[in-house]
Each structure stands twice: as structure tokens, then as C-alpha cells.
């Protein structure tokens, strides 16, 4: 039994001695961890927001975007270095908090962090700004005149979920647009944003007054309301109910951005189902299921598999089942909490009951229920996964059959992974895009969006800024008042 204690969060020095700390406790495999998280009163939240705003104006807004990229790159470099003390801590403590297999966590962390190196950050900024210097100063624009992009003085992030490191997307986005950032960490993973902030401040101490990482109990409104009043932009993650109740309390003047729960899925064309290629497709399909036990918005719920070759969709389902059993030995699924275990058992029972009376439905599962594959021979038996390494595989006679099945879920669709031939890629992508899919990737890459990914089809950086434009005629007009005018 080893007991670990870790301090999470960050508040500027001026308030440090006046706040209280709450303990969040975690345990896994006879190890326990206590995470101390900072709690502020509504009045302190008010003082903090003013402080962050002032300092982001005085310091962060005066930095160039290139210097911020260099800074983030240095932090990521440390987090990628397996000998760095914080990286070591991350490898040790994240599995303890989230329950994910340590080896899976380690490999995923490296893969994820690599998307925030300098070249990727440069691409990230260029995705949204054709001339990234527009974040530093007025730049000529196509219609004439000049424009400069301003990030918010106070950007409030409300994070959720247990996928390690997820807050980095929005926190780095906030930094790149020079926003003062206040983040609320989730109880299910409070550490990574805290470590990232700690390293940032180690490299650039002045950032200590431009950032805050806090915690309050979900549903507690006093602190949240105080910060909502001060924020220029709010970026909220979570389920739709949570997002709705935060949005309802956000002032009308404040820009509200949200990322709610999503449905992602894969499509496999008959053209790739031959004895030579089937294994690698099934392997990659299973890898996407296993990664973080389908806790991400980009994790697959369903694979649609086209019939027509001697590798039938049912055979494909069996290949996926074996791959899931291999992954269970390599990266065992985390131990589910009681609520999750009950939900999963209920989902599995329902599927089994249905399969008794439905010869078109077949179930493959391991003896302990660590993974389940539901094969549906007919799309009439459409079902979503029960999460935590469960997947629904649906046979379709043609790829054109997929869109009508998914279109009722348009508002919730996000990532589609494809294993299709080039002649199918664009026609299928067009249909998917029309029905709400915002990201199309290859099977096996669902959980690793590339740098510059437009999360839920939105602009990560552009959505955060406002532009100030100098209209073209003003340039000529001001010329009239120059002392060198003839």
C-alpha cells in the first residue's frame, strides 16, 4: 500500500494564503492518492478574475504568438521526457486516478503530447489564421484595411471527463490567443492541467498571474456564477444537462462555446475485406475501442460493415472480438465503478435477451464481460454501444445505407473512421458531412486527432477572438493629416 499526496490547481500569490483546500481521494490496486484542490469563495473568485484580466492585459497580450508557441513547446518537451519528474509523476498517478492501464496511459500520453510540439502548434495557429501575426499586431487584410485579433481577457474553461490531458486542447488554445485563463478541473482527472500550468510558470514566472486552475463541486453555483460574470468567453465540456445549466447562467454579453456528448462510428467497405487486409482493419478498429475504454467523444460506438465478399461482416465481428481479447491481455480494461458496472450489465442483459428471440443478432463476449461485440445482421436492429469496450457491428448491403441510419442523430455526430477505397472516400465523406459528421479519419486514428483539428467542426482559436478592423479608407484619410502632406 502506497499513499500519494499531490497538490493540484494554481492560484496567483496574492490570494494563495487566504484560500481553503479540499481533499479528493482516489484508490487503485492498493495504492491511494489524495489530491488537494483549491477552493475559493465567490468574493475571492471575483478578485481573482479581475487580477487575471489585468495581468493578461499587462503581460500575456504583449507577448508574440511565436514566443508563446516556444513556451508551450518547452513545456511539452519536458512532459515528453520520460526522465522528467513531472512526467514520471504523470505515468505513476494518472492510472491511479483514472483506472486506465498504466501502459496504455503512458503510450497515449506520448502520442497526444506530440501533437503540441512547435511544428504542430505553428500548424494549429495557421489553420485558423492565414497570417498568425494578426494575433500580434494589425495586419493587412484581403478586403482592404488592417485587422488585429484580440483574445479574451478572461477565458473560463469548465472541463469534464477522465481522459488524461484533455484540458490541454482548450488551455493551449487560450494561451495562443493570449487569453487570461481560468480553468475548473474535473474531479475525474484534476492533475494534468495543474502540472502543465506548473511547468509553464516554472519557465515563465509572470504567467503565474495570468492563469488559475480551480476546483469546485459540480453543481455548486456561487463560485461559478461569480466567474461567469467576469468571463468574456466560456468554454464548457460535459453532458448536455450540465452544459445547459451553465449556459442558462452565462450573461448574454458572454460568448458561450460548448462541447457536449457525441457519437462517433466507423465504416468498413467490402472492398477492404479480403483475407490479406481484414486483420489490420480489425486490429485498428479494436484499438479505437480499447483506447480510454471509449470515454472520448471520438470513440467508436458502431462499425457499419459492408457485405459482399468472402469475409462477411459477421466474420469481421469475430476478428474484432479476438482483437479485443488480445488487447484485454495487453491493456486490461479499468475496474468499473458500481454505477458503470450496473449500466454495462444492464446493456449486456438487454442485448442477450434480444438475441434469444432475434436470429439476426449474435453476441461475442469474454467470460468476465470485459469486452462485448454485438453483431447485427440487419440495420433494423441498430443499437449503440454500452461503452467500456462494447461495440455494435452492423451489416449493411451498401455504404449508401449508412447515412439514413445515422441521420436521426445528426446533432450528436462527430467522428467517422473509414476503411474504404479511394473511389468511395469522397462520395461517402460528402454524405457524412451533410449529416453532421465533422471529422473523418482512418480506422485506428479515431482517438488521436491531428494537430489543428477543428473540434466539433468549429475553429479552436478563431472562435475565441474578436477582430478590430481599420477600414481601408481611414488609412488614406489619416494621410491627409500627416505633417509631410504637400
Amino acid at each position: 500500500m502506497t499513499d500519494f499526496i499531490e497538490n493540484a490547481g494554481h492560484v496567483p500569490d496574492f490570494i494563495k494564503n487566504d484560500i481553503t483546500w479540499e481533499k479528493l481521494t482516489y484508490s487503485q490496486n492498493s495504492h491511494s492518492l489524495t489530491v488537494n484542490v483549491p477552493i475559493l469563495t465567490p468574493v475571492q473568485c471575483d478578485q481573482l478574475a479581475r487580477h487575471i484580466k489585468d495581468n493578461s492585459r499587462q503581460f500575456l497580450k504583449k507577448q508574440t504568438v511565436d514566443s508563446i508557441i516556444d513556451l508551450v513547446d518547452q513545456v511539452i518537451d519536458r512532459l515528453l521526457n520520460r526522465d522528467d519528474p513531472i512526467r514520471k509523476k504523470a505515468e505513476q498517478l494518472l492510472p491511479l486516478i483514472t483506472g486506465f492501464d498504466p501502459e496504455m496511459s503512458r503510450l497515449s500520453l506520448t502520442r497526444y503530447l506530440k501533437t503540441f510540439r512547435k511544428p504542430q502548434l505553428l500548424r494549429f495557429v495557421s489553420e485558423d489564421f492565414s497570417n498568425p501575426k494578426i494575433l500580434d499586431d494589425f495586419q493587412p487584410i484581403v478586403k482592404g484595411g488592417f485587422a488585429k485579433a484580440y483574445g479574451p481577457d478572461c477565458l473560463l474553461h469548465i472541463w469534464s471527463g477522465n481522459v488524461p490531458g484533455l484540458p490541454l486542447w482548450s488551455l493551449i488554445s487560450g494561451l495562443l490567443v493570449k487569453a487570461g485563463n481560468i480553468g475548473k478541473i474535473a474531479s475525474s482527472e484534476p492533475l494534468f492541467a495543474s502540472w502543465f500550468t506548473k511547468l509553464l510558470i516554472e519557465i515563465e514566472p509572470k504567467l503565474a498571474d495570468c492563469l488559475a486552475i480551480l476546483w469546485w463541486e459540480g453543481g455548486t453555483q456561487d463560485q461559478e456564477n461569480s466567474l461567469l460574470q467576469h468571463s468574456d468567453v466560456v468554454l464548457a465540456y460535459g453532458d448536455n444537462d450540465t452544459i445547459k445549466q451553465i449556459r442558462d447562467r452565462t450573461p448574454i454579453k458572454t460568448r458561450f462555446l460548448s462541447h457536449g456528448h457525441k457519437i462517433s462510428f466507423g465504416i468498413i467497405s467490402a472492398q477492404v475485406l479480403d483475407p490479406q487486409k481484414v486483420w489490420s482493419v480489425a486490429h485498428n478498429a479494436a484499438a479505437d475501442i480499447v483506447q480510454y475504454d471509449q470515454q472520448g467523444c471520438y470513440s467508436p460506438h458502431i462499425y457499419f460493415v459492408e457485405a459482399g465478399t468472402n469475409i462477411t461482416p459477421q466474420a469481421f465481428a469475430k476478428y474484432v472480438a479476438h482483437e479485443l481479447s488480445c488487447f484485454q491481455k495487453k491493456f486490461p480494461r479499468r475496474v468499473l465503478n458500481t454505477k458503470e458496472a450496473i449500466q454495462l450489465a444492464s446493456w449486456q442483459n438487454n442485448q442477450e435477451l434480444e438475441s434469444v428471440s432475434n436470429p439476426r443478432k449474435e453476441i461475442f463476449r469474454d467470460k468476465d464481460g470485459a469486452w462485448t461485440v454485438i453483431f447485427n445482421e440487419s440495420d433494423k436492429d441498430f443499437c449503440l454501444s454500452g461503452l467500456n469496450r462494447t461495440i455494435s457491428i452492423i451489416e449493411v448491403n451498401s455504404l449508401n445505407q449508412v447515412v439514413p441510419i445515422i441521420s436521426p442523430y445528426k446533432d450528436f455526430l462527430q467522428t467517422a473512421s473509414l476503411a474504404v477505397a479511394p473511389d468511395e472516400l469522397f462520395s461517402l465523406s460528402r454524405q457524412l458531412g451533410e449529416h453532421g459528421v465533422t471529422r473523418i479519419t482512418s480506422i485506428g486514428s479515431m482517438t488521436a486527432p491531428e494537430a489543428g483539428w477543428h473540434h466539433d467542426g468549429r475553429f479552436n482559436l478563431l472562435d475565441l477572438v474578436t477582430f478590430t478592423e481599420i477600414e481601408s479608407f481611414l488609412e488614406g484619410y489619416s494621410d491627409m493629416f500627416a505633417n509631410y502632406t504637400d
Partner: protein, 255 residues
């Protein structure tokens, strides 16, 4: 599988594959002698885990590359438990399986080979020689030597390691021929890449994926997979098998 009443000595069993083998024996009720070289603390931990699994276990310190220590080790096990039924030669000279950092043939001196040969062949020779009289008493000894599937296909030429293990395979066949008439069986277990162990801790993910893609059972071996084959060869289920090598690599090598 009931191995109650059997005394099993597993060399190098404070960690990795050896520890998994020790625990598998304990799970089947055997009395387990855990040999370690340096780290008494981790050996104690494995002893406790074996006891929790229902077996009797003790740990014995010995550097098995030194013949005199091998003799003392066998004597200590014999005086503690009264006999020896199963000997698993698992220890070998530390070796890191990192393809990017391996020595090329022209970098290798004879001493490198010598060190690996001492790690596997010298230690096995010394232990078998010392154990032979004990096993003869019951006419029912089982010796299992851990080699590698690289002896059949050196897909990465870890010269000195694979050469030493190849020698151990030849040694085992000869020993099987000699010991058979005394009711002592000698077999080898040849794992593929086993993960996780200290030796494979730094093996890169892309190499593992490459091996998985060529392996019919589509995964890398773990220490418990190796233990299964060792249990089989140490049990009565394999009572008419000697001089053989079982490859535990998911079908990567098929002989």
C-alpha cells in the same frame, strides 16, 4: 493441475518471467524455491505472493553463474525441503532487447559471447549437475530450460544471446538423452518477445506491432503465457515428452 508435493526451484524468479513461473507453480500447490541474485526485497515480495496463492515458498540467494554457488543453492533447497522434483533454469545474464542499441557483429568480442554462455549454459550445467543425484532418488525429475524463439529465426540478430540459448538447446537435448533412463525429463520453453519484463521494458511499440502483425494469435507473449508451457512440461501431463522445445510465441515460429 495438481502439483502438490512437488518441490520446484526456479532460477532468477524474483521478477519477470521467473516470478510469473514461480507464482504459477504456487497456484498449482507446488513448494517453490525462489532464487534471486541481488534484490532480497523483491524476492520476498514474490515469496509472499506465492504464499497468498496457496503454495509454500522460500527465497534463496545465489549467483548462478558461479558453479560453487549453484552447488550451495541445490544443497540449501534440499536441506530446506528434503528433495527436488522440478528445476527451471530461467536466469540469464542481463540483456536489453533494444534493436536500435544492439551490438553489430563487428562490435562483438568473444567476451560478450562468453558472458551470455556463462549466464545460461554454465549456470544450467552447474545446476543440473548438482540436481542430478537428488532427482535420481525419485526417478522422476523434470528440468525445464528457458531459451528463445530467436534460436529458430533470429529476426533480430542478438548474436551473443541467441548463440548462448542455441547452445543451451543442444545441451538440453543431450541431457534428455542421458537422463531419460533415470526417469528425468529435460525440455525447453522458447518464448518470443515477452512483455512486460525488465529486459523488454524499452522495446519500442512499433517493433511490438510488427511482431503482432506476423503472429497468428495476434499479440505479444506475457510472462504468464510462458509459465503455462513450463507448468505443462513440469507436470505429469507431459510424462512421455523429453528433449523437446515448445515455442511460446503465438505461432510466430512453426517447426
Amino acid at each position: 493441475m495438481d502439483l502438490r508435493g512437488n518441490i520446484a526451484l526456479i532460477t532468477g524468479s524474483s521478477r519477470g518471467i521467473g516470478a510469473a513461473i514461480a507464482k504459477a507453480f504456487a497456484h498449482e500447490g507446488a513448494t517453490v524455491a525462489i532464487n534471486y541474485k541481488n534484490n532480497a526485497l523483491v524476492a520476498d515480495k514474490i515469496v509472499n505472493e506465492c504464499r497468498e496463492l496457496g503454495g509454500i515458498a522460500e527465497c534463496f540467494q545465489a549467483d548462478v553463474t558461479i558453479p560453487s554457488e549453484c552447488r550451495s543453492l541445490i544443497n540449501s533447497v534440499a536441506s530446506e525441503f528434503g528433495k527436488l522434483d522440478i528445476l527451471v533454469n530461467n536466469a540469464f545474464h542481463p540483456y536489453n532487447f533494444i534493436p536500435e542499441k544492439r551490438k553489430m557483429f563487428w562490435d562483438l568480442e568473444w567476451e560478450h559471447y562468453q558472458s551470455q554462455i556463462e549466464g545460461s549454459l554454465l549456470s544450467t550445467h552447474s545446476l543440473c549437475k548438482a540436481a542430478f543425484p537428488l532427482m535420481q532418488k525419485t526417478a522422476n525429475g523434470k528440468i525445464v530450460n528457458i531459451t528463445t524463439d530467436l534460436i529458430s529465426k533470429p529476426s533480430i540478430p542478438y548474436h551473443e544471446y541467441t548463440t548462448a540459448k542455441s547452445a543451451l538447446t543442444g545441451f538440453s537435448k543431450n541431457l534428455a538423452a542421458e537422463m531419460g533412463p533415470f526417469g528425468i525429463r529435460v525440455n525447453c520453453v522458447a518464448p518470443g518477445l515477452v512483455y512486460p519484463t525488465d529486459s523488454s521494458a524499452e522495446t519500442k511499440e512499433n517493433l511490438k506491432e510488427m511482431i503482432i502483425a506476423q503472429t497468428p494469435l495476434r499479440r505479444i507473449a506475457n510472462p504468464e503465457d510462458v509459465a503455462g508451457a513450463v507448468l505443462f512440461l513440469a507436470s505429469d501431463w507431459s510424462r512421455f515428452i523429453t528433449g523437446q522445445t515448445i515455442f511460446v510465441d503465438g505461432g510466430l515460429i512453426m517447426n
